[in-house]
């Protein structure tokens, strides 16, 4: 393994020298962000190669309006909030799920099935599943909605905050941050949507896209491939995660998403409103839609003063450039979501980076 790493590192060095200009590569997956930090990859790269974290952490990209809707539900005593762990510490106006004076029971679940089971076990309460995440978690939400419909579990509903990664990448390149030279494409999401899905980024924007897994070797080889393409003046789609990612992806998962959800315009933290970028439940499943059931709005929420998570998510600034980073905003007392999630860019910088 070390031979291959050394070889890839050498290719990166050579390509950077040939190009003679700085290269910016963005990863759009929180697991990549953490893997890059944990393995210390940054410290092995030439100065000219900059890695930026994009909108890849599900908690981080979730708009404040959605968080406020969740906290509104938490104040109801007829609800049980079932949520993935990362979400409970995201602050809203009056605290987070962890600290607000919640009247609803807040339960951390590891799967959507656990949430549905809570509904089966608590007939007197409405279980609201806080469904966030990209194409990776959307199929699991779809499965339980169909299951609830089939079994007639009416005390269950889903607050869908699911997002699609491609519209966000397009939005970035179309205006927010066109300095990105290439993308390290997400392994998990690609398992579902297929590596072929990124062809539109290559074709429409001329940016190399390389799908990789999460082992340091995979990431470094993907970076070497990106550098090779850039130094040859090329932009191609390539997957080096062929053990699990196919070109067309998981068709069954794609189908169940299509059966349950429509792509709609939606709000992202930092990126604003993006066309056809969020998943809303189809009309036939409207009774399981928590927005509809509780008359909640999905309008954008107010951001907290001073928090620059939005710019961090777009790769416009690095966490250290936010005046709150490491001072008022720490993992123990996060102000913005990028510091909350273990996959958030700020949390990763805080945890693994040198701050001197």
């Amino acid at each position: 393994m070390l031979d291959r790493i050394a070889k890839a590192q050498q290719q990166i060095d050579e390509a950077c020298r040939t190009l003679g200009r700085p290269i910016t590569v963005m990863e759009v997956c929180g697991t990549h962000t953490v893997a890059i930090f944990r393995s210390g990859i940054r410290s092995t790269l030439p100065k000219g190669l900059k890695l930026l974290s994009g909108p890849g952490c599900p908690v981080c990209v979730t708009d404040q309006g959605y968080i406020d809707a969740v906290l509104k539900l938490a104040r109801r005593d007829d609800c049980i909030i079932a949520t993935y762990g990362d979400m409970i510490r995201v602050p809203g106006k009056d605290g987070s799920l962890e600290t607000c004076a919640a009247k609803a029971a807040v339960r951390v679940v590891l799967s959507s099935e656990d949430a549905l089971q809570l509904a089966r076990d608590n007939a007197g309460k409405t279980v609201v599943f806080i469904a966030v995440g990209f194409e990776t978690t959307a199929p699991a939400s779809a499965v339980v909605v169909q299951e609830a419909a089939r079994e007639g579990i009416e005390n269950f509903c889903v607050l869908s905050g699911h997002k699609l990664i491609l519209p966000a990448m397009r939005a970035l390149l179309s205006g927010m941050n066109d300095r990105v030279d290439a993308f390290l494409c997400p392994g998990h999401v690609s398992v579902i949507i297929g590596s072929g899905a990124f062809a539109e980024i290559v074709n429409d924007f001329g940016r190399p896209c390389v799908v990789a897994g999460f082992e340091p070797l995979q990431i470094i080889e993907a970076l070497a491939e990106i550098c090779r393409q850039l130094s040859n003046g090329k932009a191609e789609l390539k997957s080096i995660y062929n053990a699990v990612v196919t070109e067309r992806g998981n068709l069954a998962a794609q189908q169940i998403i299509a059966e349950c959800f429509d792509a709609a315009d939606g709000y992202w933290r930092g990126l604003g409103r993006i066309e056809k970028s969020t998943l809303v439940l189809k009309e036939q499943y409207r009774r399981f839609d928590a927005f509809a059931r509780f008359g909640l709005s999905d309008e954008p929420g107010e951001d907290f003063s001073g928090c620059r998570c939005g710019e961090v998510l777009c790769g416009l600034i690095e966490p250290m450039q936010c005046p709150l980073f490491g001072t008022r905003c720490t993992p123990a007392k996060p102000i913005g979501p990028c510091m909350v999630s273990s996959e958030g860019t700020c949390a990763a910088w805080y945890k693994y980076g040198r701050r001197s």
Partner: protein, 340 residues
Amino acid sequence: MARSEPERVLLAHGGGGQLTNQLIRTLIVPHLKNDPLSELGDSARLELESTSICLTTDSYVVKPLFFRGGDIGKLAVCGTINDLAVAGSRPLALTLSLIIEDGFEMGLLERILESIGQTARENHVSVVTGDTKTVERGAADALFLNTAGIGIRLPGVNPGLERIEVGDKILLSGTIGDHGMTIISQREGIEFESQLVSDCAALADLTCTLFQRTDGVKFMRDATRGGLAAVLNEVAEGAHLGIEIRDADIPVKPSVQAAADMLGFDVLNIANEGKFIAIVSPEAAEVCLELCRNHPLGRDAAVIGEVVASQGAPLVELRTRIGGRRVVQMPYGRELPRIC
């Protein structure tokens, strides 16, 4: 009024009356049998061979109460023994306080007491006094334990952060993350759980050997909550020195690593219940490693890094397998499973 043996612990069992007496005499004392305890006095009287002692206390609220590799009782005995052991003492006696929720199954209580008795006997410590309280349903989660312990300090053994110097070696007594990942996976009902076993064990025999057979052990701490990362950061901060460790040398079981990766946890932050970190002089490192590896609880021991000079704030740094570097932070509170 008929008073048949109840199958569940009742509030009345903590009332100080006949039921309390019965619980203590028929269930608790028989499992923990020893002379000072059998007197059932207000205090246990002990004759000590030295006036230099270590004293510690710890409370145990683990859920689930029974896990692969142990239970709350074994944990309560081992945990307190380990706190005494790493301070350079030979554990002698423990206290045991039980806080039991009304309705707790008597059979489970007996299993836990049996485990406490057995673990104590195996490690040559006695549970010499204790207390039993019952609380209303909802006021405690099934069963909480507290153990305090005293140990006799080993003569001439004086571990302390102030003794640590640049060049000292970081010795880890075995694989990390086993306990924490076992508990988390069992709690969450995750499938890979069957491969995971807690490392819950009492380390006094091994630590006494190390302290007595070499004079190079400068500091020792068991890596419980917060894991290896927490201990190393405490050492770095306390000694005002840097620490550099090598990822490739840190022993982790593949099943533990897989479970941690799946949930997005950093195995360096995960709790252990049968592992210590020793800071040893470079001259003593080989001997210490050898002594560990010859002991059943130190078979996977490894020297994982060194104490280094610190520029600025003392920092723990990890050399990664690919030759990169990164900071190892003090963990902040509990880890949350990630979304995907």
